[in-house]
Point group: D2
Chain length 440, copies 4
């Protein structure tokens, strides 16, 4: 990147997370000469976008930074000339998320926004939009990097890499959170740890952990089994069985609970939905409060309350990526990238989540080779689901959609797969023009 | 095979299926010069062995064939000099099978003798015995072919191929039954069909079917969806959803019902167990009746009632294999053999079930290459389970056993995996000397 | 194939080999109801085509067979309605072959019509024509089988499989000749042998050989090392070093001499070219004599002299293929087909030469898995050359052409690769419209 | 590495390169607390070892560093307690190298100390010794890192990784030299470049190069084709043909000249050997002069003349590795490590040379995935040679040795392979106890 002035395009700029991103930019002005941030959103999000833009300007003013803020609905203008395009939108908003969480529960199946049928529905809605954005990038800013935060981040990044020429990296805050929590357990600095991450987004394991050259995998597993904090704010922290962790021999991510501890997670989800509404409904409440806060004219910094939402480290993770690319750091980050052989068991063109070196040449995954049979089966089954879901989302294929859900390990039966699929397609019809189905 | 006199060793000779095997031998005397059949069983099976041997002798006499029948407990004598060693034993007998079927049901998990936790328990009991037999073959008859019918046939054959030098082929009557039923649907001769079988034992698909050079896959799927007979006598024939079959695009085997139609199969199993007892309990009744029949001194042929038991075509499948090897037929059979690249998604040393050429050089699988994502995920997940189950069975590893069950797609949760495992280990303790566990 | 009347289209019908093909048809009338043979050639081959057609008619009359013979230049009419399209043409005729043999020799490089730079030049000329034929088949006779004899048969078949939808099998007489010669050495019937063929066309090894279930690989290697006949009539029979054969542990094909015994083969070629002219020039003489013979009005059978030409068993190999497909024999043949995993070291879409089952569903290769490092390096290097040669031939890419020759193990240096390439392109310019080069 | 005091063991400490290593240690005292260097050599190298040790002490004294120097023949004492074991010995000394260079030339084959038959002979002599050292490390210092500089470094590292449990990284100065020379061409700092290195030792390509995020591969190729300095001091700088470089599309290493420009390199070698003696003979002279210099009591720094020897950057490359491991830098280095899927075309357990992240967890290769066919053939062929050479070296197998040389692309014929092999085995007999051959 030869330019001295960085332009960021934020697609879905009206997100309640955006102040964190702005804070991240302001914290890195010495290494990242950001000169323009262009927030884009859809017209229905006008009010939120306005509030965010105003808060961003107040934050920038307070920092006495020289950054132009633009906020409008002109996606093509935002993309043109951008150095980094960050995508953090939610097609259908929290209402759609609420249905993603509710529909599966009706069939005694995990209802979650990124895994299982909920994540599948989100993929169907999101992939056509992201591919549309990519067409714009290909035309208007072919050298730009797209950093994708939109979930399901692995699926979305694979769709982008398979169907467009955009330079893209998918990003999630789970790995960095895991590193923070392991550092806390081991009472060391996060950067002292060496963690061999490899898997898929929200299905990533640490296969081996080192501290100062010593293998500490077993110690970490013991601590997690003993109840050390090892969860994300937005999912239920069902305790891990130490016997299982010991047998597994690798450190699971918090989202693995849905796959390994399905019974307990489902029971909690059903009880929680009954008592407090779905997670989406709870977030709607939090969001309303956040935006009320953001509107206060005297607020000129990221409010503390945002951190309680559950997206910890998103800003750091993403702006550290921007820094690594812009300043050619060759530093290690855990990201979603094309496999290229890094994990033996998956196709070269599959997108995986793993440790990668990031510099001005992009992201180069570290090869981990062959994983244990304890890991490979679930990994391959979920990747097969992902591939089918991508095909379904891109081509609007009912057959691929049915086979995707039938292959998802959280859906125990093809009868339930079909019922859930039909309900998802009907409920999300406005967002799924690629499906030309007569579901009557 | 240069010899003019074939010796068969039948391990588990007291099985109620044995008369079918004898009939098969007598039907092929023009091409297979069998001169000795040595039936072996354990001492607890003395009565049955006596009955079978006497019946076999009456059948041979009626056919005026020159075949010596030996029946005793001397496994080493049976193996020594044998050209073919056929294994069809059941460690723990039908009582063990009954527990394989019952234990999982207590946890709302499929209870079946070859798949799921039931098949897993059977593998734990069987693999140490089969490896012991193989040590004898390596020592006493290294050029003999072992034809293994003992379930779970895929797992058992992979254990043999990985841990011994015995020349071994695993055999199941499901593929030949599928071919017969498809021929019936298409109103053609079985040999006119070309069926691309590939998968694992009891998890095999016909990926494409041809009749006279025309692709008839879709026609077969439509007929199966319309209710054409496509099941085995020993499993419940839950109807297939035509929409699903169409989406799948490949012809599933009857046992796939456990994986795809889990809800219905589980419901039926529970109801049936309550009303009629488990399948094992029903078979005990059938067996008792069969042996009563076999005892009749005037009986000198395979009785019709045996066919109702569910092992149709076993005899044909196995003796056609003997014929193909002995007479170097290079004919096509669907068997369990080492992959060697035939299925792209599995390791070279995995045992698969697929179409293979059989001649005096053994079994050479036909390469099918890369399968659809609709197939590959389940296939890889079940193979990962199988690999872990083999390691657990060979090394008596609790960790591998727990991970095997946790990876079995029929076990939805690690909590249930652990409970079922502990109950299996406790219940089968007499048959599992390799596990040195203190389960108190 | 449901039809009772078979139509054969013979592209390059004016070949001197054609009488053998006609003989093969007449020998199989009981199993192959051929009703029409349409010979096609280019206008320059008018005289030869006439002679061949007349001889074919006399042979058919003598056999009192009911087969219509058509001979003209109308390729599309020949292809329309054909059940089998056989390709045996030679772009540029024997004059082009002579240059293929001569040019490399000028640079002390093997000059041979199918391997090395000569085979490369032939591929450049042939592939565009074969793809053009395939466009016609796709349009006019999409269910027809193309049986390709045109060399380099492996390269040509891979081009067809990658760039067209035609059902195609490549065929060579080397494997069947090897089987015949091994049978002669072992004093057995060819069909008693089991030979594990795998490699590429004109680079195929028998990795293991069995007779009546016994491994005879070492015996065959010893006999070949002792000087048993193991060559083709059209290449120099340089004796094999027994020490090398023993170290290799696999049975090489006669064409392997060019790769392993390069020095001796090159010396012989140079001497022979000087004394007798190139092989092409010798063949021109033989051909002239053959056609003189074919013209004799009383000749009504394949003359003995044809067999001396070097294409032994071509007719049997090809018509046995037709028989296997038409009559769904599921018999074993060594052919050129898409790898699909059969050989571990090559891509799924590479065309290999190996034992395959042939029936109405086409050709299914037998998986041989992982080969020894003694084999894999040369195999992979030659396949890389082939892939580059195909790309060069299809796209007219000078870069790919240069890299193809640079990667050919018979070309020891990029300087010589470039000189030979430039001379090939210049000399063959009339046949290489795909190359739009200014070589001045 | 928790220790505050680093011990280095230098096997082959009497090497003329050692002063550079000492200088490297002294330059990094702020980050590497080296407290002891134990130089070991064989008794025949007593004089050189003494001279080196004395010079090292003078250099350390001048730097006022607190480092103990030990120099003796006690390899086990050196290894015990070592943190890093560096191997830089030469079995048979320069006399053996001279024969490695001479023998092949007699057969018109490249004679070079690391590639072709010369490198093969060196591997046969070196591998048994290095495995012996590894047995000591396994016993005495199992946590130590072995950094291997001994050529052929790729082969030696693969032997270590396959046959021992020692943590090992192989190192070469070619990649770092390439980076330096490319930086010079592009007039930038070396660290500004991103170079995608992947291949084998002395057969490594830069597949793509970036400067500030821009792909500069083509620019570099043009500069190299225009004659920019791109060679090592110890090999002949035959100019590259721009047309070839353009077709190749990747940046070859200087040693690729032996494979691509064989004719010119061989001609130069023959002329040079005749006029000036072999490279080994020239180096003997240089060495004699260097040691004369080293003996001067007033010399207390690395003399300038050492750099002319051709091992530029060895010290930096190796001590930067020590720094990266000791201080957990996670920095990028080009090293020889186990593939683990990084290069699609090679086995997981093959050792490759590629960019890797180095930290206290060791070396993690960056996955480059599938390479062009322009690259893969030569790569796979040379790796097959390497695998056979390792087997020959470890097991003393004549067959593997013959097949190794027959598969080496620099040996054009099996006849010459055999003659060269027999001469190598005879000449090196004192160093090849593993070969128990009667060559009379």
């Amino acid at each position: 990147m030869a330019r001295d002035a960085i332009k960021l395009a934020i697609i879905g700029g009206g997100s309640s997370y955006t102040p964190e991103l702005v804070e991240g930019v302001l914290n890195r002005l010495d290494v990242l000469p950001v000169k323009q941030i262009h927030f884009v959103d859809i017209e229905a999000g006008f009010d939120k976008l306005e509030i965010i833009a105003a808060l961003a300007k107040r934050m920038i003013n307070k920092a006495e930074a020289d950054i132009e803020v633009i906020a409008d609905f002109d996606r093509r203008a935002a993309i043109e000339g951008a150095d980094f395009v960050m995508t953090q939108f939610r097609v259908g908003g929290l209402a759609a998320r609420a249905s993603d969480e509710k529909i599966p529960l009706k069939y005694d199946v995990i209802g979650q926004e990124t895994t299982g049928p909920g994540g599948f529905a989100k993929a169907l809605r999101t992939i056509p939009v992201i591919l549309d954005i990519c067409r714009d990038i290909e035309e208007l800013s072919p050298d730009a990097w797209m950093l994708n935060f939109t979930n399901p981040a692995g699926l979305v990044t694979e769709a982008v890499n398979k169907y467009t020429k955009v330079k893209s990296i998918g990003l999630c805050n789970v790995p960095v959170s895991m590193q923070m929590m392991i550092a806390e357990m081991m009472e060391c600095q996060p950067k002292e740890l060496q963690l061999e991450f490899a898997g898929l987004n929200h299905l990533v394991w640490v296969h081996r952990a080192w501290l100062k050259g010593q293998d500490i995998t077993q110690q970490v597993l013991t601590k997690v089994g003993d109840g050390a904090n090892f969860s994300m704010k937005n999912i239920w922290e069902e305790p891990w069985d130490p016997t299982f962790l010991n047998a597994l021999g690798a450190i699971p991510c918090p989202y693995h609970r849905y796959f390994y501890q399905t019974d307990a997670m489902l029971a909690e989800e059903k009880q929680s939905a009954e008592q407090q509404g779905t997670r989406a409904e709870q977030v709607m409440q939090t969001e309303a409060e956040l935006f009320k806060l953001y509107q206060q004219p005297q607020l000129d910094h990221k409010p503390q309350q945002l951190e309680e939402r559950g997206g910890a480290y998103y800003s750091d993770a993403s702006l550290n990526l921007v820094d690594a690319i812009y300043n050619n750091r060759n530093s290690l980050h855990v990201v979603n990238v094309t496999n290229n052989g890094a994990i033996h068991h998956l196709a070269d063109d599959a997108v995986i989540e793993c440790t990668a070196v990031i510099g001005s040449w992009g992201a180069k995954p570290l090869a981990v080779g062959r994983l244990s049979s304890k890991i490979s089966g679930l990994l391959q089954q979920v990747k097969a689901y992902e591939q089918l879901a991508i095909e379904a989302a891109v081509h609007g294929s009912y057959d691929d959609a049915l086979m995707a859900l039938s292959n998802n390990p959280l859906v125990p039966d093809i009868g339930r797969a079909k019922s859930i699929l039909d309900e998802i397609l009907e409920h999300n019809a406005p967002y799924l023009p690629q499906f030309k189905l007569d579901l009557s």
